[in-house]
């Protein structure tokens, strides 16, 4: 399918990807989409490879998506459960990395609450490392599947106007998306309560708006972020109902967007908090397409990185 110059062994973030690499991932993902429609949803591409899922933070959606992607490629997927493991006994991340390395996996998919952990693993291990979310910093496969979904719906990314709305400060989804979408030629506007915007939000490379109406005006794409309910306790906003009143995406607030606007959400959604149910389930929503595409995009990433690890071996 490609001898097309993919050289990376790790996917630690989207920040250092060049547009050609992004295109390659999206094109590769496109070719994997049809696997989901086969009677036997499996191709032999990664047969004999051992992939480790290392989720230090609870994750159902992303870890399942990766696991399905791995299995559809015939890889052996092992979940290193961090809740019942040696980590609970005080083992350091450094030792965990060295112990896992000693089992000679081909790739590790890692999620952790803190930025930079994927780099730490990549430094200690010989295998490929995929960042499945490091704190508030990066979530590269999410941004890639969002870009894929946007391209699928709009036929392009370049020149599109995109709004990302919600808890920007704590969102790796927002950071990776701003980085990736601007790289691919879209213009991004960030919005949300001021208490949930980073102090130097404009330095992320996006415009900043302070109301949902202002943010969605004239947009091709509106991406809503999940509100993490515990933020309320840190005095970042007063209540969920007030959040809905002022910062949620409702049909009325969507009126200023383009007629063919699409709505994305990385999930899991809080209906009635950041998004109204009729918008989430409405004609503009591509939220379930994101989930479907996520598997294909992750298959593409696993496949491309495996080429690099094979060639390096």
């Amino acid at each position: 399918m490609n001898q097309s110059g993919w050289t990376r062994k790790h996917l630690l973030g989207v920040a250092d990807l060049v547009p050609e690499e992004v295109e390659l991932i999206l094109d590769t993902a496109h070719s994997f989409l049809e696997v989901a429609h086969r009677p036997i949803k499996k191709v032999p591409t990664l047969r004999g490879r051992t992939l480790l899922g290392l989720f230090f933070e609870p994750s159902t959606r992303t870890s399942s998506s990766f696991e399905i992607a791995a299995k559809r490629l015939s890889a052996d997927w092992v979940n290193f459960s961090t809740s019942s493991s040696s980590l609970r006994k005080g083992e350091s991340l450094y030792d965990t990395a060295r112990n896992l390395q000693a089992m000679a996996p081909d790739m590790v998919v890692v999620r952790h609450a803190f930025p930079g952990v994927p780099e730490m693993l990549a430094a200690e291990m010989d295998c490929g490392v995929i960042n499945a979310g490091d704190g508030a910093r990066e979530h590269p496969t999410q941004a890639l599947l969002d870009a894929f979904t946007i391209r699928q719906a709009k036929g392009r990314i370049e020149g599109l106007e995109v709004a990302i709305i919600g808890d920007i400060e704590h969102s790796r989804v927002a950071r990776s998306n701003v980085s990736l979408l601007t790289k691919m030629g879209a213009r991004v506007t960030l919005a949300g309560p001021r208490t949930l915007l980073p102090a130097a939000a404009e330095s992320l490379g996006a415009a900043v708006a302070y109301s949902v109406e202002e943010a969605v005006a004239g947009k091709d794409v509106v991406m809503m972020l999940r509100v993490q309910l515990e933020r309320q306790h840190r005095a970042l906003f007063p209540s969920l109902r007030e959040y809905f009143d002022f910062f949620a995406l409702t049909r009325e607030r969507l009126a200023g967007a383009k007629d063919d606007v699409i709505i994305l959400h990385p999930g899991p959604m809080n209906r009635g908090v950041e998004i109204a149910s009729d918008v989430a389930d409405g004609p503009f929503s591509v939220i379930l397409d994101q989930v479907t595409n996520g598997v294909a995009v992750r298959m593409a990433v696993l496949y491309l990185l495996s080429i690099a690890t094979t060639e390096a071996a």
Binding site: P115, G116, G135, A136, R137, P198, A199, A200, L204
Partner: protein
């Protein structure tokens, strides 16, 4: 015991001197400075032709970790690091285990220092018992045991009331209060400076205002209570403005800056690949703050340079950035960095650097030294301005190697460290 330093250039701002002088040290004191001194019999002669002789450099902000955290550092290794770095004396902070909030701990530290003797050690006593910020430590008994200042460093004194009482009570003993100024609730879980780079890296930020708030409060309390107030590791431009205003008002307020805040910015966190050796408190700030600090050391509003030498074990630093301990080592890199990045770049001249690293530190803490006037203590540092260096953290005398400067190179380094008239040799093992 006599030592004659021959052929050097003496740079001693305490007597406004920058000239070729021989220096004779006898019985622990500076005996004589003259253009040429004959060596009497029994006088050891050290040829320092082409080198610079300065009053012994003093680091008024170091963590020697003894007692209780000897796996990070000890009085022995910390003073060896000091001597290797050109420092003849270090002031060590009270956040040991147990805390230096009572005379027995002070005496223990001083006894260890006497036993090893690579550099003078001046302990700081705690402001509050156990650094808990609740009750005053026994400041009088600590002073009698030999502390030179009071500080809860590592923890700011949060209670304004306690800080006021501490400033007031410390006046009885004539010692300064030394503050790590930081509003803790505003800092939250912050791990780096709040700004462009924290936004981009998704790492919780510590706004400069967290420092500014407590500096402003402390200046007001110093006005209210009197006493001497010394601000540690000033890092923000606004805090510097507050210190300037306090000085203009005539308050006894002084401050220090560290080499890392003078040379690095928050971008270093990104550039280093989120290395935990770029994590310290206060954090590396913006370029604007850094430029303000450079102005401050040049115009005198920053009184001195101190390292905040904060050793941590490699296992403690080899964890995710957000949860790594704050702090880096500094004793063995400070002088070289200052000579190459500050003096050679024209930020300050050599005389001002000696003022920043010797005269002012001695004055702020009321220590012997900081001068080569006859009669002064015979603590001397000899610098070789032509010595090329490359930092190799694996070869530090310190037990720890947590530095963001590993691999840096430059020109100009400490050559000899002389304490009480005795040339310190690090090769002689105990």
């Amino acid at each position: 015991m006599s030592l004659l330093l021959r052929g050097g250039r003496v740079v001693d701002p305490s007597q406004d001197l920058d000239a070729s002088r021989d220096v004779l040290l006898v019985d622990g004191e500076v005996r004589e400075l003259a253009e040429s001194i004959e060596a009497s019999p029994g006088v050891e002669v050290l040829d320092v032709a082409g080198k610079v002789i300065t009053p012994g450099l003093i680091d008024i902000h170091a963590h020697l970790r003894e007692p209780g955290q000897e796996y990070k550092e000890s009085v022995l290794t910390g003073t060896r690091a000091a001597a290797a770095g050109g420092f003849t004396a270090v002031v060590c902070m009270a956040n040991t285990d147990p805390v230096n909030d009572n005379a027995s701990v002070t005496e223990h530290i001083l006894a260890q220092a006497t036993r090893h003797g690579y550099a003078r050690v001046y302990p700081v006593g705690a402001i509050s018992k156990g650094l808990r910020g609740e009750e005053l430590a026994e400041m009088g008994r600590l002073a009698a045991a030999g502390v030179v200042a009071y500080s809860d460093d590592g923890r700011p004194v949060e209670s304004s009331e306690l800080m006021r009482r501490a400033l007031s009570y410390a006046r009885h003993f004539g010692l300064p209060l030394v503050q790590h100024a930081q509003d803790l609730p505003l800092s939250g879980e912050g791990a780096m400076h709040e700004g462009e780079w924290s936004a981009r890296l998704g790492i919780p930020g510590i706004p400069a205002a967290a420092e500014d708030l407590m500096v402003a409060r402390d200046v007001l309390l110093t006005e209210l209570a009197g006493g001497r107030y010394h601000l540690q590791h000033l890092s923000s431009a606004k805090s510097l403005d507050l210190v300037r205003a306090a000085k203009e008002q005539g308050l006894a307020v002084t401050c220090e800056a560290t080499p890392h805040h003078l040379l690095l910015t928050d971008e270093e966190v990104f550039r280093s690949g989120i290395s935990t050796n770029t994590k310290m408190n206060p954090p590396l700030r913006s370029e604007r703050d850094r430029q303000a600090l450079l102005e401050g050391i040049a115009d005198g509003s920053i009184d001195c340079v101190a390292t905040d030498h904060a050793p941590h074990h490699v296992d403690e630093k080899r964890v995710p950035f957000n949860v790594a301990p704050f702090g880096i080592v500094g004793l063995e890199t400070a002088v070289g960095l200052c000579l190459d990045r500050l003096v050679a770049q024209g930020v300050v001249d050599l005389s001002r650097l000696v003022d920043l690293l010797s005269c002012q530190p001695a004055k702020i803490m009321g220590l012997p030294g900081g001068s080569l006037r006859p009669g002064a203590v015979a603590d001397v540092t000899v610098l070789d301005l032509d010595q090329e260096w490359t930092v190799d953290a694996s070869r530090f005398e310190s037990k720890s190697s947590n530095t963001p400067f590993d691999g840096w190179s430059g020109r100009g380094a400490p050559l000899h460290t002389i304490v009480g008239g005795r040339l310190i040799s690090l090769s002689a093992s105990e």
